[in-house]
Structure formats: C-alpha cells, structure tokens
Point group: C2
C-alpha cells in the first residue's frame, strides 16, 4: 500500500480508503481513493499502521518514517500532539482549513480541527468540538478566540483552545460567549462624600447604599463608608453622589481615576457600569488577581452568597499569552467561579474560558 506525499497532502488508493477512512475516520475520500493530511499520516506512522510514506516531492520516491516526517516542516508538533491526544481520548477528528477569511483565523501554529462526537466520524454531520491548537509560546489574539466561538456556534459545537506546553502536554480550554445578566434591583437615596486621594469617604451613609446596593466597604460596622473610584463615578453618573468641594462630581472622579490608573480607569468604569446596568453587582477581584468578582443577585449583603464569576477587563485588541490564560482559568476553577474576559473594544463583548476534559 503506497502512500505518496506531494508536500501538501498524501494520496493512497481504495484499499487505504477502506482501511483508514471507512473504518477509522482518517483523511477524506477523493474519487474512491484516499487523501490524508500530513498530521493524519504522522499518526498512522506513529501507531505503526503504516511503516513509511513515500516523499515524491523531488520526483523520486524517498521513504519517510515517523520521526523524519515530524521533524519536517510538513507537520507541526503542536498539531500532532493535539491530534494524537484527541485520538487517544477516543475521538475521530479532521484538520480543517476553512477557517474563514480573517487573518487572525489562520495564525494558529497547530491549525484547527473539527472533532466529531465519540462514535461518530467525518461521514456524519455532527461536530462536538472546534479545536484550535497552539503552542504555549504563541500569542493568541482575543479576536481570534471570538471568531473561533462564532465558527463553533455555527456548527452547533463547543469552541476549544488546545494549548501544548513545552513538555508536550495538552491543556483544553472551553471558550464561550456568556450571557451577562443579573437580577439585582434597588432604589437608593442620594449621598454626599469627600474625595480622598484614591477613593471616596461617605461620613454618614444611608444603610441601603451598602446593605442593599453593595456599594463600598464600611470602615467599621457603623462607621463611614469608603467607595472605590469606579463605584463613586457610577453613582455620580446616576445622580446619586455629590462631592464636597467645587466641580462636577463625575468629571472630578474621572480626572482622579485617570490620574491613578490611566486609560484603564475608563475601561474598568465602562465594564463596571455595564455590569450594574445588567443587574449584576461587581466588587473588587483583587484577592483573585482579577478586576472584579460578580454577584448576579444581591438582595441584602447580610445574606450574600459567594460571587459566581471573576472578570478581567481587557482591550478589544488584547493578545493573550496562553500561560496567563491558563493561570486565570486555573485560579477561577480552584475557587469555583467562572472566568470572564470583558473585551472593551468598539463594543463591549464577553468571552468565558474554563477547563475542559474532552
């Protein structure tokens, strides 16, 4: 059974098609014969199902074994490790090139795979996962992940980023676009505060501000309330906070916010305000290394449950380092929260990431 490699695809006859495609989902049938992607041929070589392929690129038929094919530029290691790992987990899968027109969609060093539900294969229509394979050293634009979610959704599949670390282990991250809405509703009285260097002090706060709205933090059980600058600005924008001293409160707070954290203040305020508008209560996520932790429904602080999500605020142009992604997702998992990325671009969009064992 000869399998010839022309530098892009590998071709074999109908016996190979019966043996590898019909019964085990390798490759694509072409006029009764079989066409294999290099990563598929590498896997057949690795398993010993075939002993060698014939490299016919320079007109001669030179035999290539597993090691030589993997060391060649035809197959990326990253692609092979992900392909092998998913096969080991009992899936049939196909490399895909129809990743849309955007530049961001074709940058993954390990390419993209369509993974069929267990027990199904390329001859069926169902897709379980759309998997983008990358090396841990690769920069991954948030935009590309959003596009992956869209492609997966169109297939009725789950979007997955598969990261191959330097010791060739694969970590799977499930990506999705979460619904961000809550049920917090309250009616708060207006208050007055004093602007300190990095927060606002409300000397005599009405109980509802903290207890129902979950704004700020008390200095003592019955003491003054401190508001963070984002909390204070959102309250001022809602007409609920005035400041002692001259000047429009919202403008003074923005000026101070930008002075202490630059552009990031505006991004965080935008996300904070968006969450509040959706009935979700954001509080600082500092202890989790995030911007916010969020509560979908606060009726009273004294009956508060655990926060459900962690939010990291990023620009629309953000480029992830897979290691940072792994850190965030691992931490969120450890504290039983969902990790959300708020992409503050032209519009505010959301990306959720969590660990997945396919």
């Amino acid at each position: 059974m000869d399998i010839r490699f022309d530098g892009e695809r590998l071709r074999a006859g109908s016996r190979a098609r019966e043996r590898f495609y019909d019964s085990r989902g390798y490759g694509q049938p072409r006029e009764g014969n079989l066409e294999l992607a290099p990563v598929e041929a590498a896997h057949l070589l690795f398993r010993g199902d075939i002993e060698r392929v014939l490299d016919s690129r320079d007109g001669e038929d030179r035999p290539l074994g597993f090691g030589a094919l993997l060391a060649s530029t035809a197959v990326s290691e990253v692609s092979f490790f992900v392909y092998k790992d998913l096969r080991d987990r009992g899936f049939y899968l196909s490399p895909t090139r129809d990743t849309g027109e955007g530049e961001t969609d074709t940058t993954a060093s390990g390419g993209e795979f369509v993974v069929y539900p267990r027990g199904r294969g390329p001859w069926d229509d169902a897709v379980a996962y759309r998997v983008r394979a990358v090396s841990e050293r690769e920069a991954v634009p948030a935009r590309a992940l959003r596009a992956l979610v869209d492609r997966a959704t169109a297939d009725g599949a789950t979007a997955v980023l598969a990261v191959v670390d330097e010791e060739s282990e694969v970590t799977y991250l499930e990506l999705s676009e979460p619904a961000v809405d809550g049920a917090t509703d309250h009616d708060l009285p207006a208050v007055s505060g004093r602007l300190l260097s990095d927060r606002v002090l409300v000397d005599d706060p009405p109980e509802a501000l903290y207890e129902r709205g979950f704004y700020g933090q008390r200095l003592d059980p019955d003491g003054p309330l401190q508001l963070s600058l984002v909390e204070a600005t959102q309250l001022a924008d809602s007409g609920l906070l005035d400041l002692t001293g001259a000047g429009e409160p919202g403008a003074r707070l923005r000026e101070r916010g930008r002075a202490v954290e630059g552009e990031r203040f505006d991004r965080r305020l935008r996300v904070y305000t968006g969450l509040r508008a959706a009935g979700v209560v954001p509080k600082t996520g500092f202890k989790f290394g995030a911007d916010f932790r969020t509560y979908a429904e606060v009726t009273s602080v004294s009956e508060l449950g655990h926060s459900e999500r962690l939010v990291r605020v990023l620009t629309g142009e953000h480029v992830f380092a897979p290691r940072d992604l792994a850190l965030d997702v691992r931490l969120a998992h450890g504290v039983r929260k969902q990790m959300l990325f708020a992409l503050a671009g032209e519009t505010l969009t959301w990306l959720a990431a969590e660990r997945l064992t396919p």
Copy 2:
C-alpha cells in the same frame, strides 16, 4: 488635652503620653511629652479617643477632625487602612522612617511599620513584622521587597507586604528568602535526539532518563521521549545529549530557544540549571501559569509525590504589580504549593511569597 500638628508630627503633653503611649503604644515619648505620627493621630481621631487636633501650620490653631485629616496630604489612606487593620487585629505598631538609604525603600505610598508581637509594644525590643504598606495600583520593585526581607531579618522579624485594594481591604503577603535545595541524585547515560521546531525527540530513550531523572515526557508508555528545550540544553551542557545533524548541540539548542522565546530562554535555562544543580527537579509549571513546578527529591517517577513549589522566572529589575502577585500567591495557596520568584539579575536570588493572616 491639646494636640498640635506642625505639618509633620503632632505634639502633646505628658497626660497624652501616659494615656496613649504608656498604656496603648501610640507615638514616641519626647522629653516626657508625646510625639505622634499623623497616621497615629488619625487613628485616635477615628476611634473618638480625641475629638480634634489643632492644625498650627499657619500660626493659628485650626481644629481638624478625622475626615479632614485623612483628606489632607499628611496621612495617606493606604497607611491609615493598614494601621487600623493591624490595630483591629490586636497589634501595637509604629510607623518607621529608617528604611535605609536606597530610593526603592521609601517609595511605598503607605510607608513602613514596625509591628510588635501581641501584648508587646514600642517600649520592648521585640518586633514581629516589618510591614510595607502599598496601594494595589502601586508598582513594587522586586529589589525593594528583597531589601524589606533584609531589614526584617535584621530585626528578627517577618517581612510583610500589605496591599490595600480599591475597596480598602488589606491583603498580607509574607515575604522571605527561601533555601532552595533538594536531594535528587542520579547517574544517567548519554543519549541522542532529533531537534524538532520547539523540542527534542529521543527515539529510543534509556529508562533512567525519564524514570529516575524525570527528564521529558513520553509520547506513549514505551514510545519516544520528548524533551523541552531547557531540559535538552541542560543535558547537552552536561555532556549527556547529542543531536543528529551537524553543529554543537548546546549552541544549536540555545539558538533555537532564543528564536522561540527570546532572552527569556536564557533566564529560564539559568534557573532550570541552578535548580538541577541544587538537586531540585523542575518540570513545566504551565498548568499553574508558572515557569516551573519543582520536586525536591525524585527517586523514581512512578513513586512521585506532589510538587512542592511553583517558580516564576523574572529579571533582577522586575517590578511587580500587586495584583499579579496576589494572583500567583492565591493560585499557589489553592494548590498547596509555595510560590517562588527567581530573580535572575547579576546573581540569581530567590523571593518566596505566601498569604499571611497576622
């Protein structure tokens, strides 16, 4: 009881000294009278122990209350929140200005405190903690943290970074210089491998390489072994790895390493090699968002316990964002490991950080 503020210190008479210093550790005695730092006066005002202080900066005695003193530039909020929190936890403490000569030592917005053991005070010699107070938005040079550890060690105390987040909660991180040594010892045979784009494949590995040395990762239980580029380079430098193809293996591997991760490769190799030389086995820390996880003693991989530490490799000039520090320390705590920072400057130094509840 009049307490006068000259813009730097507050001064009061002997009755105040008896009441606040002798019995509760506020301030310093000066010729039978009392001298208070602004943060101490703010705390006495906050508690209602005094009602006002007299601002005598412009020759008149203008009364100042808690809110006005806190809103002035004399007291930083960060300093006040840390002072109050430690007092609430039952400690007496004193702000200190003798933080050495270095610039890095005086940059903390909240300053530094000497915290006495519970039940002790400024009239004793014992110091429990040396606490540097910073805002979560402040950049904290690794160098300054190392210097803090040195000052604390000189006092026989524990070095602590107290971070005040935007909602005014205080997170305490204990800092130390850990001993880095292990008991891993093995004798390995030399092997030959094939350089792939981002790792090395050893086709027919001797069992000891993985099983005793814990180098690499097997592709299959009896299959080829993959080595990461740092593992391969350290082995090549030890004369234990040759590569197929021309060129000195160590040089080829360094060239490839720099091509895939730049200068970071050299830093990581330096730390990897240092750990191996100390009898510690480093493996990838990717799943924890770190550079390495480490094992102090590996006798056989089949009897491996959990790794004890996570290592993040940084430059000697690294400047921490407190939020990133909090993220690393929280994650490490969640997986019951100690977080170590390797500062690869002129010399390689170590800084450990963990959560502390004073």
